[in-house]
Point group: C2
Chain length 422, copies 2
């Protein structure tokens, strides 16, 4: 059994994702495709534009055979932990032999070379990174700069220009984090990359038939109209999105949580803020002062962000606060090897065969019904129970953002059936 | 100097309040009137319809000479603690010799007789109350029932009917709590009562020119129109209300906090809920279950309330949660004699004279500018600092309810000047 693994957000599933999926299948000649997908909150510090079950529908329509949930404990983290969580899930299935990711570069070798250096970071590089950090820039910027100084001095074919070009593109960076995680977990999975087509990650204007998910989301959220994006998504994906918007179950945006975030910030002490991941260097006081000044979420983020503390990092912090995720629990998961179970969100007919095999090969328990596992099977203070409880809580809060109150009930992780496709 | 003390909410100030004030001055022949007023949140578990500074303006226009703030630590509590906090503030001024409150009964003697029993509760009565509680009714109901059994057996002129009639009316009960607090604090202040006129507390429909504040608020909140209430408020009070609504600074309702309350509940564990006052008898689980089911605030309250857990009690619990007030801090205040300072919200020209005298007579520090006291003057873990911090936090969260974002800035307890009237 040759199974391809991909790590995704599908927020929402668009033509670029379809291109990546088809090209990956062609390149790997895989029999099956397993995707690990973020749930209701995504890596750059936003709620997903529609909920996870509807994004699973999109994935299955596109030809994915099995969708596993990337726990929020990894989905809503920096690229390093996001990649670690995703790679570990693929590792633990016991059947994935290749993973393919999109990158701006489109060549795997330079990415592997850089990843190998980072997987066992030399002191000299660490010192260079620290020097750059001391200038007050963000960690990704500092590391990119340090690498572009460090690598050309090695016995390598990588030029300074190539290193800079590679390390300054977000999908290359994520790819490097994937490979780094594969190395650090002694994975048997072989990484491959495909050059991203049609749009770069930061592109926000729409042109051509492939564009970034960011551009698609911005158009939906700003214009409140779907006409301009119709050609950018496969028809099934477009229809699912349209139906969710018709039902007033989307589009969901960080703005939907404006009042709860501002309220919670105004009732939270700086010392409690310090218990949130990535709140370092006095950021807790900066956040607290901003919370008292700001009269809107946009203003809040503008008041907090600096060259060092990027908007993405701040949005993730605000969501960790909203959802009550604290650093020590997350670190506990990291130390214990990341994800504690494989939660199935949906599968195709072919996916059933994967699951049959995985019953033998998987190194983690498979969860297809949360109700059967949560509370009953695991002691409340076990890591499994804590990870599931975090997920349930995140969904319970996500649901409150629906404009249509009738969808706001909690416990949807218990009540929502698996998504199946014949 | 003869100073009259009254304990109020003025939410909003209406003709009934004016009647009470005038009649009180006539009855007592006082030179000055000091009122203790709730801040931005009121006793029955609601945010005030407009903010405290605008309600102070109403009070000063009506002829009150000095307005002291009842700290939220007492304003948002059961009748017993509300009364205790208010009476202690009047006591600590050192110049109030009489207090007057409105009651359905309008005679002071029966209220004193009942208060004396409750101020030093006999075991037999305690047992009767417990028996009633065991039937699953609320504490006020249980106590009322127990008193109507207990008192007629004493050497008293009070008939069962009279006791029942007295103890089943909310303003009589509050009056009894005032007198009880006066007794327990060995107060020199003499209590007097005036029969409430025109409307009873629970009346919700408007008739005549005096009606309850509840009816007035309901009309404003439901009709979003002021025309129907114009005759029920003095013109200055009406104008202040109208101006606040025009500025989109009101009317503020519990509904404004719907999404933050539901969100906070869904991220709070039952064990944390147990740290909130009045969460007893497994109520934490009942609240948590309701929070996951409810899709609106109304539904939430409906799901939680029972004969034993009244709506008022539930709303106060939800606001304690929203504002982060916890039981142990509140109990710390209670043990230390209640209010820790006299915070001045506003005064008239005559009020200046009272303040001059109070500098000699007051047993607590006078605060006229929060910025001068908070953080600097008191150690962070002192009761004074904690009580002030609670107030500041409550205002910071209240401000987020304004429809007009430009008024949502935090720190208004620091920036808002004293309200003065020439």
């Amino acid at each position: 059994m040759k199974a391809l693994g991909i790590i995704t957000e599908y927020n929402p599933f668009h033509n670029g994702h379809l291109y990546h999926l088809r090209k990956s299948l062609k390149t790997t000649d895989a029999d099956y495709t397993i995707c690990v997908m973020s749930g209701n909150f995504v890596q750059r510090g936003n709620p997903a534009i529609i909920d996870k079950w509807n994004r699973v529908k999109m994935a299955l329509e596109a030809g994915i055979d099995l969708v596993l949930e990337l726990p929020i404990a990894y989905a809503l983290r920096s690229a390093e932990y996001f990649a670690y969580g995703g790679v570990q899930l693929l590792n633990q299935t016991g059947i994935v032999d290749k993973m393919v990711f999109g990158s701006e570069l489109g060549e795997i070798e330079p990415l592997i070379e850089i990843s190998e250096i980072l997987a066992d970071e030399p002191t000299e590089l660490s010192n260079l990174i620290q020097e750059e950090l001391d200038k007050g820039v963000s960690f990704p910027k500092a590391r990119a700069e340090a690498l572009s100084i460090y690598i050309p001095n090695l016995d390598t074919t990588l030029s300074t220009a190539k290193v800079k070009k590679t390390i300054n593109n977000p999908n290359n960076i994520l790819g490097i984090e994937y490979i780094k995680a594969l190395i650090q977990t002694n994975s048997q999975i072989k990484p491959l990359t495909i050059k991203r087509k049609g749009a770069d990650y930061h592109q926000t204007k729409i042109k051509g038939k492939i564009t970034s998910a960011t551009a698609i989301r911005n158009t939906i959220l700003k214009d409140q109209s779907l006409q301009d994006i119709k050609e950018l998504l496969p028809s099934y994906s477009f229809d699912i999105l349209k139906e969710n918007i018709r039902l007033n179950k989307g589009p969901i945006d960080l703005e939907n949580f404006e009042l709860p975030i501002l309220t919670i910030l105004r009732r939270t002490s700086p010392s409690t803020l310090k218990e949130i991941e990535d709140v370092t260097g006095g950021l807790e006081n900066r956040i607290k002062d901003a919370a008292n000044q700001a009269t809107s979420l946009l203003e809040l983020i503008d008041l907090i962000k600096t060259k060092r503390f990027t908007q993405t990092r701040i949005q993730r912090i605000l969501l960790h606060l909203l959802l009550g995720l604290n650093k020590s629990t997350l670190k506990g998961f990291d130390k214990a090897g990341g994800p504690q179970y494989l939660r199935i969100l949906g599968f195709s007919k072919k996916g059933q065969k994967i699951l049959k095999t995985m019953k033998e090969t998987s190194k983690l328990p498979l969860i297809n019904r949360v109700a059967n596992h949560y509370k009953s099977a695991y002691p409340a203070d076990s890591l499994k129970a804590k990870m599931l409880a975090m997920e349930v809580k995140a969904t319970n809060i996500y649901s409150l953002a629906y404009n249509n109150p009738k969808y706001r009930q909690g416990g949807q992780d218990y009540t929502q059936p698996l998504i199946l496709k014949n």
